[in-house]
Symmetry: C2
Subunit: 327 residues, 2 copies
């Protein structure tokens, strides 16, 4: 049985090996942005989830590494194309690909990463390879659906809590769930267990994304790593804003809409004022309740999984870390 | 045994069925551009090649249809993203996706098509499904490499004939070859035959792309369907320009570079003058020789294929049509 840290080490070693190979491939201008993106780092959560899940049923985790890598390459592809669509200039303290190279370069190298993800994924030798590839394709399409919903919400003020949860399920949760199920399928786990791990991932993913929303507004800038209040400044339809609009009395609602519609403002002031309204309404308590509920449900599902309890510990400890953001 | 027309009919029926399904999928803004792209029409060459190749070995072509469709969806994905990169406003007499919808919409719906292509491809039930998916991923990555080389050539005047042929091999020929090999693999044909069909496709694809270059300059506007001289106006490094630069005497070279470097010109005059230089040098004969050589080589490969001669006729007749552009 491997710890989270040991599996992360395996993933990082493999990524290093692959990026070295990519640096030798032609045309250079296609593969340089791919290499740049993969070398940027990141938490490598998804590939580690593949291996942790695989490791519940089988010790030989090396067999699952190409699939884990494929999912990580796919995740990085989505970040690359999302950054073009969001016109984001910086990711992980470095210029985004379309800023550093060119927009055309970012589109095409992103496309190449999508196919590279499949190339890695399909390296695996497994009786369940078709199931894995089908699950991956379905998931990839769902992630696109989630990104589209997120863009659709930009121009709407009437997004419901239910619609929001469906958006983050597609945009964030299904890929975590897919990672976990992929590990189980590759280890040839029974269908029922693979499904449970998928559901565990959905609940964990929803809690994880909601916490990201919470920290964007109520977090500590240093441990969060991004500037606080970005969502408020962009009028992003997060759980907090949706809940605030839903729960506000008429005076709070008026103030909230004043700040949403104001085009000329001092950023710090808008963030401060909107947080004050959020605090009056008590949306932080609401989001905390929601996060806890999804997180507890994910643990219940894990409890039902019929493998020995000590095997589940690395997965539990990673979930715990994810929700406390200590790494 | 099916004729080209019968197989085309099957493909078109299937595309109609699938686009009807796509129109019901949410979010609408993600799937509308996909539907729009697939409904634009086109020659459906690649899916028909899958079925023609399959039909050399097996009668039950319906089994290969999802894979044929996947390849067609992938081909349309490349057109969609290429149009963004080329800033093209019109395709098949209709506004391109990024013009009709938005650039972000075109990026994301294109991405969705890439995954939809796999979803269709992976519907097939076949012992060779992994081989097919691996070939497809390798090919998709090569097509990205070809597109990158094509973009790299824009800023170069020293592109060699060999580099050019490698670029069109990647950008155009490998997908035709992949279509043919996919049909063979799905019909469980021997590896050697699948390989021959692949090589047949490479040679056919090279001839096809060279002819496209030739017609862009020397074609008849009505039968070609695009405005004549577009490549000349864009200083595109086609076989014609590369060969002209290579073969020009010093006076011809000077006139050619004059027109390449001139920033202010009357389009019709530039086209007329460059064609006059091409005619003096005799590049049309050069490209015709090259087309014939690839085409004849493709037929030689087909001759070597050990299936009965009459089975090869639909494939031969399609190649013939492709090279004469009568449809």
């Amino acid at each position: 049985m491997f710890t989270f840290e040991e599996l992360l080490e395996k993933i990082n070693t493999e990524i290093q090996k692959r990026t070295q190979e990519l640096r030798k491939k032609e045309p250079l201008r296609l593969y340089e942005p791919v290499d740049y993106t993969l070398e940027m780092g990141g938490k490598r959560l998804r590939p580690v989830l593949v291996l942790l899940s695989y490791n519940l049923f089988s010790e030989d985790v090396s067999k699952a590494i190409p699939a884990a890598l494929g999912i990580e390459v796919f995740h990085n592809f989505t970040l690359l194309h999302d950054d073009i669509m969001d016109k984001a200039d910086v990711r992980r303290n470095r210029p985004t690909v379309h800023k550093k190279f060119s927009e055309n370069g970012a589109i095409l190298s992103g496309d190449a990463m999508a196919f590279l993800a499949y190339e890695y994924l399909l390296e695996i030798e497994s009786a369940r390879i078709t199931d894995v590839a089908r699950l991956f394709s379905k998931t990839a399409l769902e992630v696109c659906e989630g990104q589209q919903l997120d863009m659709d919400f930009e121009t709407r003020l009437d997004v419901t809590e239910e619609e929001y949860l469906e958006m983050i399920r597609l945009k964030t949760a299904v890929l975590l769930a897919c990672s976990l199920k992929t590990g189980a399928l590759l280890a040839d786990a029974p269908e029922e267990m693979a499904k449970k791990l998928y559901d565990f991932g959905i609940n964990l993913g929803l809690a994880f994304q909601l916490q990201d929303d919470m920290l964007d507004t109520f977090g500590n800038q240093e441990t969060f790593g991004k500037k606080i209040g970005g969502d408020i400044l962009a009028n992003k339809k997060t759980f907090l804003l949706i809940k605030a609009i839903e729960m506000a009395n008429s005076e709070q609602s008026e103030r909230l809409h004043y700040w949403i519609n104001k085009e000329d403002f001092i950023p710090e002031q808008k963030v401060k004022e909107v947080i004050a309204i959020y605090n009056q309404i008590g949306v932080q308590q609401q989001i905390r309740k929601k996060i806890d509920s999804f997180y507890l449900h994910s643990l219940e599902i894990l409890d039902e999984l019929k493998v020995s309890e000590d095997l589940k510990n690395p997965l539990k400890s990673l979930s715990n870390k994810m929700l406390q953001r200590v790494f």
